[in-house]
Assembly symmetry: C2
Homo-oligomer: 354 residues x 2
């Protein structure tokens, strides 16, 4: 079956897999919807994207993705409101960030219309895959990787841009206990930390495993030079509340410019919360934990939304955070998800209808 | 056709592609021999490796290699002597380094016998692919990547180890002009720079492109914190000769422990050359270039062997290196390739017969 949605040619799958899916027991990103968007870069240009059934990819063993980690991705969600309308949250920011990552990884930038129109067409086609239960959403994974061949360590001459989607439940279940990293690092000054480059994630797995073995869920990365400043977590930016001031580290070439982070900053300011974007030293946080002025820490990210941190470990000591009645985390989470799921109006103009 | 070599089951290709190859005009790593070794990691264990025809790989779009850069590789060469005997150079060091990389990238370590016996079996089968013309060799690319599925940012549950080979000519043609990097970086303290992780290479492409646009061939990386110390190049360690002292930076968690580098150090010492392994500041090299005591710079690596540097650029100035009659580079290159191609005896015990 061939047709066209938003100018994108569509080949539909023969039989939907949706009846096999238990929407009440979704893990994160492990079940995939019926279709995907595919767009190839060849002979110096991105070709017209197309929608095809979700299907395997075949590559030569010399494809550069296998050897040189030339890949980037984005993470977004589609939300369904009670009228079955479908919404995206600041999608152009993901599109622009994908191209920021592309530039740093020497990947040709993608035309924005291919991203936006392709994504909307895909969501229209697979809209019944968007969960409607509380906290559920369709996780969207746009990614680009080097499909061109050859062992020479240089940029590929061919790439694939794909958008795949996965109906998903919560990323973290329960409270998060983090370890502040004292030895390993996520990124270098002048490196690729600000890009959503595949290699940034693989490098975090081993230190994270070590932290998990010690009873933590996640690592909070510190600067690679002194390990004295808090940067971000594996897939979340980090906020710290000392007394009534909410703080987060400035973005840099080492830290991802999270869309949730910048939205939380704006919402918090609109709520009258005192927000400071500044370097946060580990010592300052430890001192605040000791003297009782450390009220909250939480992570922010598309997958994790707003994730309260229950405790952090540093230099062999665990510091518990208090359980607050009216936490900033729960207020800000409510505000941002209300906008995302179209439960309130959207004073910032962030919601985009599909 | 099924048979067994070195305990490895072999499925031979139906028709060899070798007659299509022009062995006198080989680029680097762009033509692949008839067979490859494949070994899968599943259900918590590496399965028995097998040799199959060189063929495409099929993966789910959610395979973690596409998203999180979980991949590592090695680079080695097979050399044929005038008796048609086939030799490897310190292959156990590649095997051990692959497992060092594996550990840092949270990839399960590979049994050494699978690597060594698999490689030897593959070379026996495809030995007619090893070039015999001057400077030619069979470039060997062992690599492991995450083939397991899912968008969760955590280590995969399945991996593929592959060895593919490519008859190759020289990596660099002609003299190399390098730019000493002042802004971008290759690796962080506490990062993955010492591992041959795919992501380390993609991160170098953009800064290298910028250098190429300015007329250089390669970047020499400096430390990410101060950019004051010379570390290594994209796929080579770096040696600097000031007067009659040969210097190279110590390896660290940012710098690859190159097998060519450590062999060159030993050979140079055996030749009575004064070798210093120490931090090399850019200033020291610039000063030496200005006062005439900088005699040579060269890169060392499996692909590039010993590559003399003709000039380096730093802060907008290019510094030419003198053309020497009896350079350390040419002496050391002759010594190491004589061992590799079995043209002399091997006092260090580095050569391994296939
Ligand atoms: C390293 C890193 N930091 C922060 C975030 C949060 O960014 P965003 O809010 O745009 O999802 C992510 C991922 O999404 C990430 O991968
Ligand atoms: C980053 C880097 N440095 C140095 C080298 C040289 O190492 P070896 O001499 O083991 O080939 C390589 C690659 O081979 C490399 O990738």
């Amino acid at each position: 079956m061939e047709n066209i949605i938003n100018n994108i040619p569509v080949t539909k799958c023969e039989k939907s897999k949706i009846s096999d899916v238990d929407f009440n027991n979704l893990a994160f990103g492990s079940v995939f919807s019926d279709h995907m968007l595919v767009c190839d870069y060849k002979n110096g240009a991105w070709e017209t994207p197309k929608i095809v059934p979700y299907q395997p990819i075949t590559l030569d063993p010399s494809a550069k993705i296998f050897h040189y980690g030339q890949s980037i991705f984005e993470g977004m969600k589609a939300y369904k409101d009670t009228n079955e309308d479908v919404w995206l949250f600041r999608p152009m920011d993901n599109c622009k960030r994908l191209n920021i990552s592309a530039k740093r990884l020497a990947i040709p930038e993608l035309p924005e219309a291919y991203f936006m129109e392709g994504l909307k067409a895909l969501l229209k086609l697979d809209s019944n895959w968007i969960p409607t239960n509380s906290g559920g959403s369709l996780y969207i994974r746009p990614f680009i990787f080097a499909s061109g061949n050859g062992f020479h360590a240089s940029p590929a001459n061919a790439y694939k841009f794909i958008i795949a989607t996965a109906p998903s439940g919560a990323y973290f279940s329960g409270k998060v206990k983090v370890a502040i990293e004292e030895k390993y690092s996520r990124s270098a000054n002048g490196g690729v930390g600000y890009a959503k480059a595949g290699g940034n994630y693989a490098g975090q797995f081993y230190p994270t495993q070590l932290a998990i073995q010690k009873g933590y869920n996640q690592v909070i990365w510190t600067d690679d030079n002194t390990h004295e400043y808090i940067e971000e977590a594996g897939a979340m930016n980090i906020f710290v509340r000392i007394n009534d001031t909410l703080m987060t580290a400035p973005t840099s070439d080492r830290i991802l410019d999270g869309i949730t982070r910048k939205s939380i900053i704006e919402i918090a300011k609109a709520e009258g919360i005192n927000v400071e974007v500044k370097k946060i030293s580990v010592n300052e946080v430890v001192e605040a934990a000791k003297n009782g002025s450390l009220k909250e820490m939480f992570g922010s990210g598309t997958a994790a939304v707003v994730s309260p941190i229950a405790a952090f470990g540093y230099k062999g000591t665990d510091y518990d955070l208090p359980e607050l009645e009216n936490s900033y985390a729960s207020l800000l989470k409510k505000r941002i998800t209300d906008i995302q799921y179209n439960r309130t109006d959207d004073p910032f103009g962030w919601r985009v209808k599909v």
